[in-house]
């Protein structure tokens, strides 16, 4: 698929167990995510969902196979190149938000911009925070924000560099149902409005039901 933002081929990742035996956690023959497409990747706990996102983000390297993001096989890049690539081309939303506690909402978003080497006066960061409904809480630190607000900061941070691909690991996992639904709707809307492809891994039926396309991990093998 020429317009695929994300393409995985023959991807294998194993870990060595405590007893020394190899445990294969990722075995994907082929998977593609088109531009602006939104897919929920479903799998039970321990099925390797987080490992897969780390492989897509270039945080982990596969044992074999290919991970193409926006046409670049990131497995062929050096670690430093992968870091730079991740900063500019991939937005990552974590289950536990992973905000830096010493930084304000705005600073957390600006950090995402900084490592991508983007220059600017922070207008985009402010605009994104306004978009996610935090225009009045720019200078609040994470501790002063509700969990729902924290996850919205994380969404703004993931989108600040206008990446073609946004990946999210159980983005509503730390939120109650009502908050989770609101955050998910927001994430999908912002990605759709800005033309980002979105891949969410989840085991939550409510999340899956919000997506037009759901792929199960087992189907990829």
């Amino acid at each position: 698929m020429e317009s695929a933002v994300l393409s995985l081929r023959d991807l294998r990742k194993s870990y060595r167990d405590a007893d020394g035996s190899l445990l294969e956690v990722i075995r994907i023959n082929q998977f593609e995510l088109g531009a602006r497409e939104q897919i929920a990747l479903a799998g039970a706990s321990g099925s390797g969902k987080s490992t897969l996102l780390n492989l897509i983000a270039g945080i982990l390297l596969p044992d074999s196979g290919e991970v193409r993001v926006n046409g670049t096989d990131i497995t062929k890049l050096s670690e430093a190149q992968r870091d730079r690539f991740r900063a500019g081309k991939i937005g990552y939303v974590f289950q536990s938000f992973n905000l830096l506690q010493g930084f304000t909402a705005l600073e957390n978003v600006l950090l995402g911009q900084m490592f991508a080497g983007a220059s600017g006066n922070g207008d985009r960061a402010v605009k994104l925070l306004e978009t996610v409904g935090l225009g009045q809480r720019l200078h609040h630190k994470p501790r002063a924000l509700s969990v729902g607000e924290q996850q919205r900061v994380a969404i703004a941070r993931a989108l600040v560099n206008a990446p073609p691909l946004v990946i999210a690991d159980e983005p509503t996992g730390s939120l109650d149902a009502a908050n989770g639904a609101r955050v998910l709707e927001l994430l999908r809307k912002v990605c759709a409005d800005n033309g980002h492809a979105l891949l969410v891994v989840t085991h939550d039926q409510q999340v899956m039901s919000a997506f037009p396309k759901v792929v199960r991990m087992e189907e990829l093998q």
Binding site: S50, T51, N54, A57, I59, L60, E79, A80, D83, R84, R86, A87, G88, Y92, F94, Q95, S96, N98, L99, L100, Q101, G102, F103, E107, L110, L111, G112, Q113, M114, F115, A116, G122, R157, E170, G173, S174
Partner: protein, 456 residues
């Protein structure tokens, strides 16, 4: 948003540890700087003060004591030399300038020096620099009245000796003192005591102040002039005409100089028409070539010795240098311990910060960037500590100046920045780099994936 912002945020997050480690660096740097400034300043001041004093001559004893007493107004006088020797040297073709000194009294701790007006008029205390009057005039001095004073002082000594032997001294004609009792004050004396031209003061016996010191109430000196500052020990002295010095009770001339162990026979004293004695003298020579031969000649005498102030000061600082090297080593050790404390503090915080580091990496920070953030944090602590330490060092010096002034008669410029301070700052950057290296390596190696997992 830049690396410095991240570093400062990290420091603020661990505020207590940051301030404590910064404080330890401040302490080490402050002590190092204070020791360096005081040493450098004192050596400068001492060397500056010796510039005009080519050679000093005094009683046999310690040359350092002679220099301290004559040039720096410190220590006690090692003894007396004869006025005749002064005359000989003054008339010596090799000698360009000679001035006598007599010490033994103080005013509120400031030394009173009996000398000639020639000293205040013609002596170059530094290259091309002579004393100038800020106010008033110089005292009047006459060698004729000085000779009279010597004779009278000798007679008073004989009377006292007779009384000590239980004899009645011969009746003497009531004296009428014609000599002026005039004084010219050094700049610091005038400033510290508030004495002004036209006022009088009473001298106390002894070169150091003492609550039990006898005061020469019968002979107050009138202040006739105040010298402009010289930034040498001369600023802390009161100069009086030498002839008035011998009028004072207790300044009688009782024995011949250089023969303390063998008291002169009475007939020798009687035939000596000029029993004058002084504490010492300063000489300037016509040529440097005369210095060594004259020095040897004087040191071959039984009743006098010569010393080169510059040489003695260098010797003194060579001795003092060993002491302040030990102090300096201690201060540097404190700074090193502070560096270790920084390393331990940041290293220990790495466990708590693994998640933050993983987040930064996930956001695209490269490993070298993480390494740099940690090293910069250690450097920032050291630099902030160093700057605070440099300031504190200057404050310590300003505070120490009171003590220095009392002990040595000098102060050290506390507001002046010395080149060595830039080296101290550079050393602190190096210390920070070394202190941050271990924790930075640990941060560099932080695994991203395993530290990003949800904590709950």
């Amino acid at each position: 948003m830049n690396l410095i912002t991240i570093v400062l945020k990290n420091m603020r997050q661990r505020a207590l540890a940051t301030w404590l480690t910064t404080l330890s660096v401040t302490l080490g740097v402050a002590l190092t700087v204070a020791i360096l400034l005081i040493r450098h300043g004192m050596q400068n001041r001492f060397e500056q003060s010796t510039l005009g004093y080519e050679m000093v001559v005094g009683a046999k004893g310690s040359p350092l004591q002679l220099v301290l007493n004559t040039v720096f107004n410190l220590d006690i006088s090692p003894g007396n030399v004869s006025w005749k020797l002064f005359e000989q040297l003054r008339d010596d073709k090799r000698v360009k300038f000679a001035a006598p000194f007599a010490v033994g009294d103080n005013y509120k701790g400031f030394r009173i020096i009996g000398t000639t007006d020639t000293y205040l008029k013609d002596f170059e205390f530094s290259e091309g620099k002579k004393f100038t009057l800020a106010e008033g005039r110089l005292f009047n001095f006459s060698e004729d009245t000085l000779r009279e004073a010597f004779i009278e002082a000798g007679e008073r000594a004989k009377d006292r000796e007779a009384r000590e032997r239980g004899e009645t001294p011969p009746p003497r004609k009531e004296r009428e003192i014609k000599r002026p009792f005039e004084a010219v004050l050094g700049a610091t004396v005038a400033q510290d005591t508030g004495l002004k031209v036209g006022q009088t003061f009473i001298a106390a016996h002894g070169v150091e102040p003492s609550p039990n010191a006898e005061e020469h109430t019968a002979n107050p000196w009138t202040i006739v002039g105040i010298l402009a500052p010289t930034h040498t020990a001369a600023d802390r002295a009161l100069y009086i005409n030498l002839d008035s010095f011998y009028e004072i009770e207790g300044h009688e001339i009782r024995e011949k100089p250089g023969k303390k162990e063998e008291p002169a026979k009475p007939e020798e004293k009687d035939t000596d028409p000029d029993p004058g004695q002084i504490s010492g003298m300063v000489l300037k020579l016509r040529s440097e070539l005369h210095a060594l031969p004259l020095y040897r000649e004087l040191n071959d005498r039984e009743d006098a010795m010569a010393a080169f102030p510059a040489v003695e000061v260098r010797k003194l600082f060579a001795i003092v240098g060993n002491v302040d090297r030990v102090l300096l080593a201690q201060a540097v050790l404190i700074a090193i311990v502070a560096g270790v404390a920084i390393a331990v503090s940041i290293y220990n915080s790495m466990s708590e910060r693994r998640r933050e580091i993983a987040i930064l990496r996930a956001l695209g920070a490269k490993r070298p960037t993480i390494f740099a953030i940690v090293v910069l944090e250690a450097i920032a602590i050291c630099v902030v500590g160093a700057i605070a330490g440099l300031l504190a060092g200057h404050v310590i010096v300003a505070g120490a100046n009171t003590v220095l002034m009392r002990v040595s008669g000098f102060t050290v410029p506390a507001a002046q920045i010395q080149p060595v301070e830039w080296l101290v700052l550079l050393g602190c950057v190096l210390l920070g780099t070394l202190a941050g290296f271990g924790p930075a390596v640990r941060a560099y190696r932080t695994e991203v994936a395993e530290n990003l997992a949800p904590t709950n």
